[in-house]
Amino acid sequence: MRKFAEIRKSLYVALWFIFLTFPIMVIRINPLEKTVEWRWMNMALVGIGTFFLSFLWRYLISKKEEGSKRAEEKQNEKISKLRRLIENRKIIAGSVVAGALLAAVFPFVVSLYQTNIMTTALIYVMLGLGLNIVVGLAGLLDLGYVAFYAVGAYAYALLNYHFGLNFWMVLPVGAALGALFGILLGFPVLRLRGDYLAIVTLGFGEIIRLILENWNEFSFGPSGISNISRPPLFGIELSVQNATVYMYYIMIFLCLVTIFIVKRLQDSRIGRAWVALREDEVACQAMGIDRTKTKLTAFALGATWAGMGGVVFAAKTTFVNPASFTIWESIIILCIVVLGGMGSVIGVITGAFIIILLPEYLRVFSEFRMLMFGIILVVMMVFRPGGIISGVRRTYKFEGKNF
């Protein structure tokens, strides 16, 4: 009986879609020959397609509801298979070794082009991990994250152009400038949260981009800065091929450092304060957590990684202009964090690879990139609201006789 009702509902959906798409999918008017072409075949396809998709959707949702019911019945079932897989030590060790080996030999196995894409993906891993501090841990929705990325990139481009400073000298400078701008943004938004915060940060991101676009004397406007030098290896100038591979290894190294530090931060005192701040501000203050300091460190530390990412980006592409730092970059980085799983390091890494690598390898669908993002995000919010790999917090264990 229930099945029948489901089928009927899907049928209604299909009819509704046929009606909606009728003018664009069925009727085609040829204004030159003044004829009207009726493409009934399309109507049938739309009907069948939506019927099946709608049915599939309903089926998956009912299955998910059944699943959550069952999980409530059995407490142990609550831990999903995926999580158990992640928590299994042997599997962790194995996959870490395999991942390290793969990462080490990657540039020698695949083409230069692939290495380049992978470096880009790694930059996004770093950006995602940085934004994860702000959005995932501290719960501050930051839509202007790309501004710090731009700060880092322009810091390297300008310092290199004017003073000839090399990559390694500017890397810490970029990080420090990122942190500084993070604090600069942090101060005015201390009292804001949620949607208001999102709008202000969005504005901040645009301000930085517009300054870079219009202040010709400073940033060379929309034409940007080219011929930025690549990172030197002990003073040796590398060929383009070698430089690409070198860049890849630098990024691997920086990502490892980022992962290490973010992990440590997560488990630290300040990490706990961030999580508490995300959960409840009033309670946070009652517990003696300094709200101002906690928020500012979240912004500053998040922005530090963006600043470094920017320096790497400028060194990798050897060219920067404001067009690389539009709001879409912020959205993509945010997508990485949300899709991967807020607050989860492995999740963010997975998210970065999916979002950056998928469009590269699915060139056929490149036109539908944003559409695919949308579909993936909607599907994910329904079936895995916590992200692909949701955050596994290290829980504090009290030891004693009562436990």
């Binding site: 309670a283 009652a286 709200r291 009290f398 009562n402």
Partner: protein, 235 residues
């Protein structure tokens, strides 16, 4: 221990406290009763610095605290159980308690205190791996109080612990509040609408009306006071 002298607190242009003066000595349970909008919660918020007074002094153990930010006040040993509980909904019960001990470094004592609150509220021990948001209202209030105890405060501020709870749970919680005061001589400042119960466990009480303290007396006298009876005890 805590001396509040003529404080005026404003929300924008609205003067919520029009010169509140009261005093709490060490080891006491002092309650502040009054009707809605009398300024009870605001008094509490002024003490913990979340809405600081515009004029007037607050001294805690001789230290002026009316100009300090909330986290500094908390670090002096004043811990608040905010109105409406404000537990951390996505953290487990154990993690909530751990956040209570945020400012403390004495791990061994913290562990002992966890055992103490689990003795006070055995139901929390059962729920320790459950996230805070999934607890019932009464359990959340217990958790909020436990979390405050974990901070080992010298002065515990309780804002409407009976809010939205069944009479049975309210009685249980009030018994525990009384026990906390007995066990560790923790000074308790209790803001409460349920004057009847509050006056039963308190040593002294203040009655507030329209941003001012109107009556100050021992709890026993307040219960017998005709005015208080009529206005707040419903007798």
């Amino acid at each position: 221990m805590l001396i509040i002298k003529d404080i005026h607190t404003f929300y924008g242009h609205i003067e919520a406290l029009k010169g509140v003066t009261l005093e709490i000595s060490e080891g006491e349970i002092v309650t502040l009763v009054g009707s809605n909008g009398a300024g009870k919660s605001t008094t509490l918020m002024s003490v913990c610095g979340i809405s600081p007074p515009r004029t007037g002094d607050i001294h805690f153990m001789g230290i002026p605290i009316h100009n300090l930010p909330p986290h500094k006040i908390a670090s002096l040993g004043i811990c608040q159980v905010p109105e409406g509980r404000h537990i951390f909904p996505h953290l487990t019960v154990a993690e909530n308690l751990d956040m209570g001990a945020f400012l403390r470094n004495d791990k061994r004592q913290v562990r002992r205190d966890v055992e103490y609150v689990f003795e006070l509220f055995p139901v929390l021990a059962k729920r320790k791996k459950q996230s805070g948001g999934t607890l019932s209202g009464g359990e959340q209030q217990m958790l909020a109080i436990s979390r405050a105890i974990m901070a080992k405060p010298k002065l515990l501020l309780l804002d409407e612990p009976s809010l939205g709870l069944s009479p049975l749970v309210v009685r249980q919680i009030f018994n525990i509040i009384f026990k906390i005061n007995e066990d560790s001589r923790t000074t308790i400042f209790l803001v409460e609408q349920n004057a009847n119960l509050a006056l039963k466990i308190a040593h002294r009480g203040y009655v507030m009306e329209n941003g001012k303290v109107t009556i100050a007396d021992s709890a026993g006298n307040l219960v017998r006071n005709e005015e208080v009876k009529k206005a707040y005890l419903g007798i």
